[in-house]
């Protein structure tokens, strides 16, 4: 079965909506930019670098897509698991939607300007097209263990992202995502 990205949109509201605080911070950032902008020399042809939070959102979205692909591949390889794994994938779909709608994302860097990109684990953000179908062990217990390890690693990464985010509202979302993923590791270990 395909997990796609089943997102219960109606429930996204609270986290997706910028808080009053976020709007205030955003407005302050805009006015600062406006003040300094007049004094700046004309820009070169280079586009301005993306905002750190925008890069962060794209990276997290990529990580969530990778997890969704892993869940889909695991369910495809082990159909007996698919019903049990579905709610986990649905929650990752929500993570993806909430992060992507929480503010601007950085567009994927064109390949011409990233000549050092390596084929291994990169810091780049998988786009929907670039997520590869992962190999899944034929052994069911091993496949679940891989999911658990992926959730644990994702939770650790989201905490680090939370600490690096500029916007408090984004930090809050990332901490909640980390909390869910850490809980996923526990829940996956419960039922055999």
């Amino acid at each position: 079965m395909s997990y796609g990205v089943p997102v219960p949109r109606a429930r996204v509201n609270r986290a997706a909506r910028p808080s009053r605080r976020a709007v205030i911070v955003g407005a302050a950032a805009v006015s600062l930019t406006a003040c300094t902008g007049d004094d700046s020399p004309p820009a070169t042809d280079d586009p301005p670098p993306p905002k750190p939070d925008a890069v962060l959102r794209s990276r997290v979205a990529g990580a969530e897509r990778t997890l969704l692909a892993l869940y889909a591949a695991t369910a495809a390889r082990h159909p007996s698991l698919s019903e049990r794994l579905l709610p986990f994938a649905v929650r990752h779909g929500r993570h993806l939607a909430v992060v992507e709608t929480s503010g601007p994302t950085a567009p994927p860097v064109p390949s011409t300007s990233a000549p050092t990109a390596s084929p291994g684990r990169t810091d780049g953000s998988p786009t929907p097209e670039s997520v590869q179908t992962p190999d899944v062990s034929a052994d069911l217990a091993t496949a679940v263990a891989v999911l658990r390890a992926a959730e644990r690693a994702a939770a650790d990464d989201r905490i680090a992202d939370c600490l690096n985010s500029v916007d408090g509202a984004l930090a809050e979302i990332l901490a909640a995502v980390a909390a869910c993923e850490a809980a996923h590791e526990v829940l996956l270990g419960r039922q055999a």
Partner: protein, 140 residues
């Protein structure tokens, strides 16, 4: 809310958890005893951390209430673990708020770690988790 108010709210939540786990411990099954003890100790430690954060800001930490209302009678291991799950779920939004307002990285990390811990524990007690613990509404 200011950082101080948010810290006070989280501290009040930890006071409630410390009280609540006392009740949980009185009725928990033998199998759950280590988890209850670990949770109780963890909430006491977080309570003390939050109080220290408040004192560092020259604020008087809120005191625990003499007693707390419990929404259902805790009479056995099942209702005890149900209460434990509810305590953790109700704590989560308080730490999520603290993550959002924390200006310094140490406080944000303290809050984020606490949100993760309370959510993991909540999953342990209830067997489930919401997509965004601390942001999603907490059912009674």
């Amino acid at each position: 809310m200011s950082i101080t108010d948010t810290l006070q709210a989280a501290l009040a939540g930890e006071h409630a958890c410390v009280y609540g786990y006392g009740l949980v411990g009185a009725h928990a099954g033998t199998r759950d005893e280590p988890a209850v003890r670990a949770a109780y100790e963890s909430h006491r430690a977080r309570r003390d951390l939050l109080a220290a954060q408040l004192r560092a800001r020259r604020a008087e930490p809120v005191a625990a209430l003499p007693a707390y209302g419990v929404p259902f009678a805790v009479t056995d291991a099942v209702t005890a673990s149900r209460l434990a799950g509810l305590l953790e779920k109700r704590l989560a939004p308080l730490y999520a708020d603290l993550v959002a307002v924390a200006a310094n990285p140490v406080l944000r990390e303290l809050a984020a770690d606490a949100l993760v811990e309370t959510s993991v524990r909540s999953a342990g007690w209830t067997g489930g988790i919401t997509a965004l613990p601390g942001l999603d509404p907490v059912p009674d």
